[in-house]
Amino acid sequence: MFTRKTATIFILIVLFVVFSVVVSVTDRGRAGSRSVETLLLSAIAPLSDAASRAFASMSRVWSGYFGLVNTAQENEKLKRDLTTVRQLLIEERETTEENKRLKALLSFTEKSDRKLLAARVVGEDPSAWFRSVVINRGKNDGVKEGAAVVTPLGVVGRVLRASGSYSLVLLLLDPNHAVDVRFSRSRARGVMVGARERGLRVKYVLKKEDVKKGDLLVTSGLDGVFPPGIPAGVVAEASRQGEGMFQDITVLPFVSFDKLEEVLVVQENPEPPSWEGP
């Protein structure tokens, strides 16, 4: 059936296989075979690696080339998605910040024993000479001219004019604005007036009064506009060098007027001081 030559080749193959199996089973654990394997591995692995890299590169080129067809569209879509996500992120940050501010306002409103009305700043006087803002609450909401305007941080100003739905608020920084204040440590009194970008000044504080840098100022309530005890600012500089009997006091407000967004209008002003004796 088989020729002699075919039978010889078949026997040789069978022997080779059997020999290989026998060698691989019986020689496991021998150092010599490991050396051979290591040698072969060292010789073949780089080739295999090179081949793999070549195939991988070819694959990348292939898929990249055909992928370019959709890349532009996908890129545009991703850009749009990124823009949307960025917009959402900005909105979320704004909402978070607004939430914080509104929570502070709400907390302050709940703590206060006076009726407070929340309002949003919708406009600002562009002139460098007059400091005022427009809020979105007016007479229809119960805002009265002369009403005090505050934030949880401190005094903001007072309502100068009120229309049906909007009011003009004269800010504390305006030189035409004045508040009766008290130094919380020494209990000395003074009149705080605006000085625009330079902050605030406190007038009519005698040189004998103990006023130091860092002293806290609160409203005294004696002006009949602002409720007592509202933070007004902190002393930045107090000098007794000038002429006259009064100190030269510069105050930094707690409220950041350029970032003012929401305010509270005090709807019930404190009773003005009575002159009637006991």
């Binding site: 919708v122 600002e124 562009p126 460098a128 400091r131 004019r161 035409n176 330079r198």
Partner: protein, 170 residues
């Protein structure tokens, strides 16, 4: 129709002055840029129409500002009257002239607005922050004056042309 256009522009300028925008100038943002609108009215509109809009803008600004009532009105009317003389002697369409007159108008406006404040003694002198603000405002007006006034003029001419074409068609 042209009155409607001017009313819309006046409202736009007032809103642009008062609405809180992301400012791109140091300090407290842009000055009152209504002076540019007043210049446009002075140079390119008939005297009655211009005066009426100047009064309207002035009263609106006085209502929205914390300054003494009538201050903006007087300042705008002063600017309108003074700059109204320019077309008699000068080429007011010239870009350089428009830029220079815009800067000058804002400077005069700021000075006029400052006068009652300084005269009342509320401020001993103009502090450096205000000086910087005025300088930046004057500079800004000088840069944007020509394109803004030219755009206002071009807009009014288009509105007039459109109105004329409609009348002719009718």
């Amino acid at each position: 129709m042209i009155a409607l256009y001017q009313a819309a522009m006046a409202l736009l300028f007032i809103l642009a002055s008062f609405v809180r925008l992301p400012f791109f100038l140091p300090g407290r943002g842009l000055a009152d840029m209504n002076a540019l609108f007043v210049l446009y009215l002075a140079y390119f509109r008939p005297v009655r129409q211009g005066a009426a809009f100047v009064c309207a803008v002035g009263i609106a600004m006085d209502s929205l500002s914390a300054g003494p009532f009538g201050l903006h009105l007087v300042v705008y009317l002063f600017l309108f009257t003074v700059f109204r003389l320019a077309p008699r002697y000068l080429q007011v369409k010239n870009a350089l002239f428009l830029a220079a007159s815009s800067a000058l108008a804002v400077l005069v406006e700021e000075g006029a607005l400052a006068f009652p404040v300084l005269a009342a003694g509320a401020e001993p002198a103009a502090p450096p922050e205000l000086a910087r603000h005025i300088f930046m405002s004057v500079l800004f007006a000088g840069v944007v004056g020509w394109p803004v006034i030219s755009a206002l003029r071009a807009g009014s001419e288009k509105v007039s042309a459109w109105r004329t074409a409609r009348r002719t068609t009718a």
